[in-house]
């Protein structure tokens, strides 16, 4: 039996880990790009990030004060699903409890508010908060949970959706992504450098979801297994780098850390494209839990390729 107590402790620890320190792919990329950046101001921005992560992980405080809108990607292995104490409903309650707990204990910034009244319960709980996404995985003997925090930058200005003409093709997609990057990074509207997530195709909702998952769940350097999409990822990365918008849009070589595309088939009348610019404050940690109570931290979620 997988107890709710084990799940709660695991989830709380995942938050501490991802709020106090960057994932390894972001940490090493930040250092590499700092070395290769030639713009003086660009270097200042990247150095500030590197220094803050070092301080935050030593002090045990969040490295970015916008601690994000909190979300969980939950994968339920079919072999373990009937061994979760209290079932799925209890798991949901545990995640909500853990969310309120870390908000006051760490603490995290209470970011979840009513859209119209702007009421803030100061505990990051409310309809749709935390953001829960669930998938079943056939024959897996674990529950995998990925904690992610969506920053205000990507949620406010870093996200766009459009439906292109069905024959706009690769060039149309490149143009839209570049126009988004320009609009969002130019004049420092959002925090660059970013990981650019692109949802290509799908239905209206799936397209948007894929852009976010592409940006957040795939590590920097990861290429789409589809060769054509992998090639397009590199072309768009090259396009954005040519803009030389640089860190915080103040000019420089480092405009994006990477470009990730996730594809789904779409209605023949459409070519939907969504863009999500994940900022460099990546909060992403994953753990797997087994029926015997074993907990294993994993570097990469199997959400997209499970």
């Amino acid at each position: 039996m997988l107890s709710q107590a084990v799940i709660e402790e695991t989830v709380v620890n995942l938050w501490k880990k991802n709020q106090f320190d960057l994932p390894e792919d972001f940490k090493s990329t930040l250092k590499e790009r700092y070395e290769s950046e030639t713009s003086e101001l660009g270097k200042v921005h990247l150095k500030a990030n590197i220094d803050m992560v070092e301080k935050a992980s030593k002090l045990g405080i969040p490295f970015c004060a916008d601690t994000g809108f909190l979300g969980y990607y939950i994968i339920l292995g079919t072999k373990v699903i009937d061994q979760v104490e209290g079932g799925y409903k209890a798991l949901e309650e545990t995640l909500k409890r853990a969310t309120a707990r870390v908000t006051s204990e760490i603490p995290l910034r209470p970011n979840a508010v009513h859209p119209l009244t702007r009421h803030n319960p100061n505990n990051n709980l409310g309809p749709g908060s935390p953001d829960l996404k669930v998938k079943l995985l056939q024959d897996a003997d674990f529950i995998e949970i990925t904690n992610v925090a969506y920053g205000g930058g990507p949620e406010l200005v870093g996200s766009k959706f459009t439906v292109l003409s069905p024959t706009a093709g690769e060039k149309g997609v490149r143009k839209f992504v570049l126009e988004c990057s320009l609009q969002l990074i130019r004049m420092g509207a959002t925090c660059s450098p970013n990981v650019v997530g692109i949802g290509l195709g799908g239905t209206f909702d799936r397209c948007v979801r894929l852009s976010k998952e592409a940006a957040i769940l795939r590590p920097i350097g990861d290429r789409n297994p589809d060769e054509e999409l992998a090639r397009l990822e590199e072309i768009i990365m090259d396009d954005i780098s040519k803009l030389k918008l640089g860190p915080m849009g103040m000019g420089g070589l480092t405009s994006a850390f990477d470009v990730h595309i996730e594809m789904a088939y779409c209605h023949m009348a459409t070519l939907p494209v969504a863009v999500y610019l994940q900022c460099s404050a990546m909060r992403r940690t994953t753990a797997r839990m087994y029926a015997d109570g074993r907990v294993e931290n994993v570097a990469k979620s199997c959400w997209l390729r499970g």
Binding site: V44, D51, A65, P107, R109, G152, T190, G251
Partner: protein
């Protein structure tokens, strides 16, 4: 690029010596403001009272920020600060606040070039933070007061003392210049080939 350390009272003359791209640090009292607090500050009886209080404290610096705060008994502690985009407050709110409170320094993120003419007249500058996230919260010495906590902790208005607060980069100065506006011209020239290839026209 020049470096400045600012200590209030900030005269018009000092502020006019700041130029885009200069680095500055600040030792003194600052208050935070996000859109909800702006509206209450500029348009309510409570706002008029708090404006008096801010003037009484001699506060001349506003930080567009919703801090990460922690309650410790009777006291509040600021643990972290990252800026909100200054344009989110909107030029009208900002210019009204600068005029009514006599502000000399607005700290935030992104460009306020839309206010460059206003800043020439008012003797106030806009400076931006370094990094996507940085250690500003660790430079806060003491939270003096937190007002309007009913707006939610990040949207409340926090008044605090800071030491060697910074560094910030001057983004819009009092001479009608904007760091982003200047950089934009260089950027447009350099990006021409890829923009032309994809048929993207820039304003």
């Amino acid at each position: 690029m020049k470096k400045h350390h600012l200590i209030p009272p900030l005269s018009e003359e000092i502020v006019k010596s700041l130029e885009v791209g200069d680095f500055l640090t600040f030792t003194g009292t600052v208050f935070t403001c996000r859109p909800l607090a702006y509206d209450r500050l500029l348009d309510s009886k409570q706002g008029a009272e708090l404006s008096k209080r801010l003037k009484g404290l001699g506060v001349q610096a506003l930080f567009h920020c919703g801090p990460l705060v922690k309650n410790e008994g009777e006291e509040w502690k600021i643990l972290g600060m990252v800026p909100m985009p200054s344009w989110l407050a909107g030029p009208e709110r900002i210019s009204k606040a600068v005029d009514s409170l006599g502000l000399r320094l607005i700290i935030g993120k992104g460009s306020l070039h839309v206010l460059s003419e206003f800043f020439v007249k008012s003797g106030c500058v806009h400076a931006v933070c370094v990094g996507n996230f940085s250690d500003y919260g660790l430079k806060v010495k003491k939270v003096i007061e937190g007002h309007w906590l009913d707006l939610g902790l990040p949207e409340a208005l926090w008044i605090f003392d800071a030491e060697e607060f910074g560094p910030f980069i001057v983004e819009t100065d009092t001479k009608g210049n904007s760091l982003y506006k200047q950089g934009d011209e260089t950027f447009k020239a350099g990006a021409r080939s890829v923009l032309d290839e994809l048929g993207i026209k820039l304003d």
